[in-house]
Amino acid sequence: MFYRENGQFKTSYRADQQIFAIAQDRWAILALIAFAFIGVPFLVDEYMYRAILIPFLILALAAIGVNILVGYCGQISLGSGAFMAVGAYAAYNTYIRIDGMPLIVALLSGGFFATLVGMFFGIPSLRVKGLYLAVATLAAQFFCDWAFLRVGWFTNNTSSGSVSVSNLQVLGWTINTPVEKYLFCLGFLVVFALLAKNLVRSAIGREWMAIRDMDVAAAVIGIRPMYAKLSAFAVSSFIIGVAGGLWGFVHLGSWEPAAFSIDRSFQLLFMVIIGGMGSIMGSFFGAAFIVVLPIFLNQVLPVIGHMLGMEISTAFVSHAEFMIFGALIVWFLIVEPHGLAKLWSIGKQKLRLWPFPH
C-alpha cells in the first residue's frame, strides 16, 4: 500500500539509473544514514559501541570486500584474514615510520599494500577455479601468518610481536571516545559501500558477474578474464585491507597476528554466504548476523536459564552458543541458500503487491 512505485515516472537516463529505483527506498536509506550519523550517538551506550557497533561496521566493510570477490566475481577466497592483516600491518608501518603521516592516508596505504598482495595471490585464479582456488588463497593466509610472526621489521621489532597504535587523529579531530571511533568507521563504511555499489553496477561489475556465471562464455563475448579477475582481487583486497587497518587501529588498538587468523577468513566467508552472495546489502546482514548473534546468545542464555531456575555455567553458554550458531547457519542455508539479502528482497517484493497479491 505504502511501498509501491505507481506514479513514479522516470524521465531521464539519470533517473532511470539510480541505485534505488523506488522513492520510498531512497528516503528510507537516507533516513537510515542520517539516523546512523545523528541519532545513534544520542541513543546507545559505550558497550554497544565498542562491542557491537564498531566491530559490525568494520566487518561489514570487510564483508563488502569479500563479497566483491566471492559473490560478484565467483572467486572463492580463504585468504581474507590475511588481506586484513596486510592492511593492518602496512598501515601500522606507514603510520609509525613516516613522521606526520595522516591517519586516513596510512589506512589507505594499508589498502594499497593489501591490493598488491591480493593481486599477487590472485594470479592462480587465472588457472584454477572453485575449491582449488580456495586452497591457493589459503596459502596467502598461511604465508601472512608466518610473515607477521617471524619478520621483525613488520612489527617494529617488538619483542612480543604485538603492536599498538594510539593518539589517532584526523585534521585535529582526535579519535578517542567510542562515539568518535564509531563515526570514523561509519564514514569509511558509507563511502566504501557507495563506491562498491556503483562499481558493481558499472561495466567492470558486469564483467565480474559474467566471469562468475560462466567464464568461457564471458571470454567469447570479449571479456578479458585476466583483467576481470585481477581487478576483482585488487578492489576486494583494497577494501579488506582498509577494514583490516580499521580493525587494528580503531577497534583493537593493539593486536597480534592471531587477530587475523584463519578463523577470521572463515568468519568473513560465512558472512558473505549467510548475508547473500553478490549483494552489497547482504554484506551488512551477514556481518550483523555473525557479530551480533554470538554476543546476543551469550547474554540471553544465562537470563533464560535464570528464568527457568537453572544456573547456567560459562562453559555451557559457550558450548550452547556454538551449537545454536551452527544450527542456525544450517537452517538458513536450507531455508534460503541465497542468504538473508534474498529474504529481504522477497519481503520487498511482497510489500510491493500488498495487500492484493496476484
Binding site: R50, S160, G253, S254, Q299, V300, T314, S318, I346
Partner: protein, 445 residues
C-alpha cells in the same frame, strides 16, 4: 510462511533481550564489590583455564564466608573469552560498567593484556596480570594501571637460567652450553626472548629459538631439530596441550626430561598427568606457590566453601597448581581493595580508580599472608609507585611421576639485569605513545 517464522523468531529474540536488560538493572545493589573474571572454560586451553577460573571463584566465595572485605561482599561474574583477543575485549566492555563498575580486570591472556593496556587508562580500571602479561609493565612510572604482581616472564626466564647455572655448577660453567627455547608462537611465548638473549650474551651460552604454532600439537619438526642440535637444556614456554605434547615428544626422542624446564604455565597437573612416569624429572619454575594441597587456605576453602556444597569444580582439584594460581590472583584483587579501604574508608565499596591506589600500595607482609592462610605458600609482596611487580621470588618444582615436589630453594630474579631492561622497554613504549613518566606528585594521588 517463511516470513512468519522469521517475524516470530525476531519477536522472541526481542522479548529475550528486553528481559535481559530489565533483569540486569534490577540486580544493582550497594555494598558489593564487583570483580569481573575473564575465563576460558572452552577452547584449546580449557583444561588449564578451568582450574584457574575455579580457584578464582572459590576464593571470592571464601572471602564472603569470612565476612567480606570489611563487610563488603564480593561479587564475581565470569565472561568466556576462549583465549581470543577480540572476545576478551568484548567481555571487558560488557563487564566494566556492570554492578557499579568493575574493580579490576585480570585478562588471563597476554594478547588480551596488550589490548586492555590501551583501554585501562581511559576507563580508569586497573589490570592485574599476576605472573604473566607484559614484562615491562612492572615499571609503574609508565604503566600506571598495570600490575604484574608477584613476577613477570622475565623473572621466570631469569630464575630458570639461574637454576640451570646451579645444575651445571656455577654461572661461569654456562659458557659454551646450548639452550633451546621451545615457545608458543604468540606474544606469550615471545616474552622471555629478550631476557634470555641478554643472559646468553652475558654467560656465553648459545640460545636457539624454536617456535611452535598454536595450539602446539605440531612439534615433530621442532624435535627433529633438537635431536640434531642436542641442546644441553630445553626451556618450554608452552601452554595447554603443547606441554604434554612436548613431554611425549621428549620421551619419544629420548631427550632427558631432567633437562627440560617449563615456565609456570607449563608446570601444572594437566600438563604432566597424561604422561605420568614419562615426565618424571620434568622441572618447572613456579612464581612463589606451587601445588599447595596442605596449605591453610586450601583447608579453609575445603571446609567453608566445598564443605557447604558451594564449591566450584571438582574437590580433588582444590590446591593444585592452576587452582592455586587462580586463588592467589583473586587474593591479590581482594587485598588491593582492602588496602584501598584503609585510605578511602573502611567498609565502603571502592571504585576502580581507588582500587588502583590499593594495588600500588599493597603491602602483604608475612604476618598478613599467614593470617590469610598463605603460610609457606608465598613470600611477602609490597608494591610501590615505581615497582608494580612487588616481588620477584620463584621456586623450581619437579614432577616425580605422581606429584610435584620442590627441587630448589627460593630464587630471585636478578634486578641488575631485569630492571634496566624493564626501564628501557617501558621508555620505548612511552616514546611510541608519547607518554611522560609519572611525577612524584602523581605517585601520591
Amino acid at each position: 510462511m517463511k516470513m512468519r517464522n522469521l517475524a516470530l523468531s525476531v519477536a522472541v529474540a526481542t522479548a529475550g533481550l528486553s528481559s535481559a536488560l530489565v533483569s540486569t538493572t534490577a540486580f544493582a545493589q550497594a555494598k558489593e564489590q564487583f570483580f569481573p573474571s575473564l575465563v576460558y572454560r572452552t577452547g584449546a586451553y580449557a583444561p588449564n583455564g578451568v582450574p584457574f577460573a575455579n580457584g578464582m571463584a572459590d576464593y571470592m566465595k571464601l572471602v564472603n564466608a569470612r565476612g567480606g572485605i570489611n563487610g563488603v561482599m564480593t561479587l564475581l561474574e565470569e565472561c568466556e573469552t576462549g583465549y581470543a583477543t577480540d572476545r576478551g575485549v568484548e567481555c571487558y566492555e560488557r563487564l566494566k560498567g556492570k554492578n557499579g563498575g568493575a574493580t579490576v580486570f585480570q585478562p588471563l591472556s597476554t594478547g588480551i593484556t596488550f589490548a586492555l593496556t590501551e583501554k585501562a587508562p581511559i576507563d580508569k580500571i586497573p589490570l592485574i596480570t599476576a605472573g604473566y602479561g607484559r614484562s615491562e609493565s612492572a615499571d609503574g612510572g609508565i604503566f600506571k594501571w598495570n600490575f604484574p604482581l608477584a613476577g613477570t616472564y622475565w623473572v621466570a626466564a631469569d630464575t630458570i637460567v639461574q637454576d640451570i647455572g646451579k645444575q651445571v655448577g656455577g654461572m661461569d660453567k654456562l659458557k659454551g652450553k646450548k639452550i633451546a627455547l621451545v615457545y608458543h608462537d604468540s606474544p606469550f611465548g615471545k616474552e622471555p626472548i629478550p631476557l634470555l638473549q641478554e643472559r646468553a650474551a652475558m654467560h656465553g651460552f648459545t640460545l636457539s629459538l624454536l617456535p611452535v604454532t598454536h595450539p602446539g600439537v605440531e612439534q615433530k619438526a621442532t624435535w627433529l631439530q633438537i635431536r640434531r642440535d642436542r641442546p644441553d637444556y630445553v626451556i618450554n614456554w608452552g601452554w595447554g596441550v603443547m606441554n604434554s605434547t612436548l613431554l611425549k615428544e621428549a620421551q619419544a626422542t629420548g631427550y632427558p626430561r631432567e633437562n627440560i624446564y617449563g615456565v609456570w604455565w607449563a608446570g601444572a597437573e594437566p600438563d604432566v598427568k597424561d604422561v605420568g612416569m614419562g615426565a618424571k624429572g620434568y622441572k618447572s619454575v613456579m612464581m612463589q606457590h606451587g601445588a599447595e594441597l596442605n596449605s591453610d587456605v586450601v583447608k579453609e576453602v575445603l571446609s567453608k566453601v566445598h564443605g557447604k556444597g558451594q564449591g566450584t569444580g571438582p574437590k580433588e582439584e582444590v590446591g593444585q597448581v592452576l587452582y592455586m594460581r587462580g586463588l592467589t590472583a583473586a587474593m591479590f584483587a581482594v587485598e588491593g581493595v582492602r588496602a584501598a579501604q584503609e585510605r578511602f574508608g573502611k567498609g565502603k565499596v571502592v571504585t576502580g580508580e581507588q582500587a588502583r591506589w590499593g594495588y600500588e600500595n599493597l603491602n602483604l607482609t608475612q604476618a598478613k599472608l599467614d593470617a590469610l592462610g598463605f603460610k609457606g605458600v608465598m613470600r611477602p609482596i609490597s608494591t610501590s609507585c615505581k615497582d608494580h611487580m612487588g616481588a620477584s621470588w620463584a621456586r623450581i618444582h619437579t614432577w616425580d611421576g605422581s606429584k610435584f615436589v620442590w627441587s630448589s630453594d627460593w630464587l630471585q630474579g636478578d634486578e641488575q639485569i631485569i630492571n634496566p631492561m624493564v626501564k628501557a622497554a617501558a621508555d620505548k613504549y612511552a616514546a611510541e605513545k608519547k607518554l611522560t613518566r609519572r611525577t612524584p606528585a602523581d605517585c601520591q594521588s
